[in-house]
């Protein structure tokens, strides 16, 4: 697997890292104290299949534990799904998160890439999907999409889910960033996942709760699909500190409520400021990151910008290795105001 082509591969610790998409509010509630107090916990094996955390996440989503499977990061589940549901050929609208492709290739699954339109802000067109569905047994959809930030609303997603079900195509809906959007709560998609048999909803606790170091994600689906995925997991896949931190994190309802409000406000502020920089386009985003493009077609890539920002101690995600984008695209996370201002003024200075 080609690692190191994601964000977060920045190794200097004193750097302001805009390449990773984690919650700028820091660790929720008592997570930090749970970790620092749990050195004795590591002396014990974790709950082999995270039953207790699973129960809590089932409650949180108003589903049964049999509809939930916990992963060592949602990325473990992304890599298990092609094996578990035996995907022969899948659709991936691009640009999107690169691991769907890697997971499918590791399973020798064929892939149909569906280009989205830059002029349409890379939004997935349900009509185009309907056409492609005919020959595929799976569709990977990231919503809101990484790295573009484009969002299909609840109605659109449900429409695609129904369409997939009708065609007996499994929709793998990766909602790794959905809790960062204000529309998260409106989605009835989890209820649909439980009964559909052709819908798997993926969630990440890593990004929203700002603990990517611990690895934690989950899937919600019909119990038969969950059984198949769990059937390919090995025991103790999730470490005990991730289990403890996960249980603690989802207790912090204030953090969960405050985050999308905070992100929405900061994103609006950043988008405006970035779009005001001559030669830069910031695409509309519903997530906690913003895709940008250097508009001058004579510039080959954002390597120069990246180097200049690094001199100011700032790291961004060069998006040249995303299928469907080119070297002039880059992605920045939405962080706290002071940090965002540093980024903006540093970009201004660099592009000028």
């Amino acid at each position: 697997m080609t690692h190191g082509n994601h964000g977060g591969d920045c190794l200097r610790s004193n750097i302001l890292d805009f390449s990773v998409n984690i919650n700028p509010m820091g660790l929720p509630g008592r997570v930090a104290s749970i970790i620092s107090k749990s050195t004795d916990a590591v002396l014990s094996y974790p709950d082999p299949s995270s039953e207790r955390l699973k129960n809590r996440l089932a409650l949180l989503n108003n589903v049964k534990p049999e509809n939930v499977v916990i992963g060592n990061g949602s990325i473990e589940l992304i890599h298990l799904i092609p094996r578990a549901i035996k995907i022969k050929r899948a659709i991936i609208p691009v640009p999107t998160f690169s691991e769907y492709e890697l997971a499918l290739k590791a399973n020798n699954s064929k892939i149909v890439f569906l280009n989205t339109d830059e002029r349409d802000n890379f939004k997935v067109d349900p009509a185009k999907i309907a056409d492609a569905l005919k020959q595929c047994c799976a569709l990977f959809l990231c919503n809101p999409n990484n790295p573009t930030g484009s969002l299909l609303n609840a109605d659109e997603v449900l429409r695609i889910a129904y369409l997939c079900k009708k065609r007996k195509t499994t929709l793998i809906l990766d909602e790794a960033f959905i809790e960062f959007t204000k529309e998260a709560a409106a989605s009835g998609i989890v209820k649909e996942a439980v009964k559909s048999g052709y819908l798997i909803v993926l969630r990440s606790l890593t990004k929203f709760f700002a603990m990517p170091g611990l690895r934690l994600g989950y899937a919600v689906a019909h119990k038969n699909i969950i059984k198949k995925i769990a059937g390919f997991q090995y025991p103790w896949n999730v470490n005990i500190l991730a289990q403890l931190a996960g249980k603690e994190a989802i207790k912090d309802r204030a953090y969960m409520k405050k985050t999308p409000v905070f992100i929405s406000e900061e994103r609006r502020y950043m988008s405006e400021a970035l779009n005001n920089i001559k030669g830069l386009k910031a695409y509309p985003s519903s997530a906690n990151f913003i895709l940008c493009k250097l508009q001058d077609a004579s510039i080959r890539d954002c390597g120069g910008l990246k180097r200049r920002l690094l001199r100011d101690g700032i790291y961004i995600r060069d998006c040249g290795n995303f299928r469907g984008l080119n070297g002039r695209f880059f992605r920045v996370a939405v962080r706290r105001r002071m940090d965002n201002n540093r980024l903006i003024s540093s970009i201004k200075k660099a592009i000028r």
Copy 2:
């Protein structure tokens, strides 16, 4: 996967747990303080493929980093290997660790089980293996073996490794407990693994360094095999605290030196005491656990013993679900003297 059929599924926290085989000396060196001080570390993604830890483990084993792959527990590697090296049919001498079978079955590999002889203390007979090798492309060998504690010495292992290589059969040598034996250092097996192309050595950091909650293991093999295994891994498979703790743990050479001496002395003490209990047989062990058997053939299983020990707050590993054993077998870990004495007197009381 059927979880919960391993040791360590004991949920009461005030229990003296003899079912898990971890180092009774507790966390080494500064591991506890590293964890409690690293709450900020979880805000960052782990090193995607644990390069820095890999470098340290390569140094420790006097091999190159290209000969090492890190797993989310060695169990991740056990589950990847059948896919990575495309095992069609494998030999498993039994009784042994049950995950080899589960990992092979998940890959639709066929399995030839090879019974070892109770009268020979379940020691693997190299001659029998030679016969079976003819039809198989892989051999799983746990050394010292879980749950029997029997050990093949360095010469015997090398002989089997050469035999495998000659037959183009890959030997997967699981040395999860080798550091607990005094003979560990004598083994030239890692050197052989690096050049063989038909030998994979698995190691666990979880058990020896008493941190099973964190999940950490590794494999040493020819670089082409390592590439194949790593090719099926997803990024960030090992969490950041396991990486930090692992790097810290292997610095503690005193702990590494003291452990096998301590274990050897306690095991001798326990074996003698257990064998002195009428109706009980303790098999010779070279590991940090001891396989025992209730000798009275009229007793169906050790369920009664287990229940009586639980009343004293003691938990043992019932071995009835190990292929090749029956309900009258159980396994106990080697712990500290005070705990071991509690176990011994509790068994005495229960069996009387």
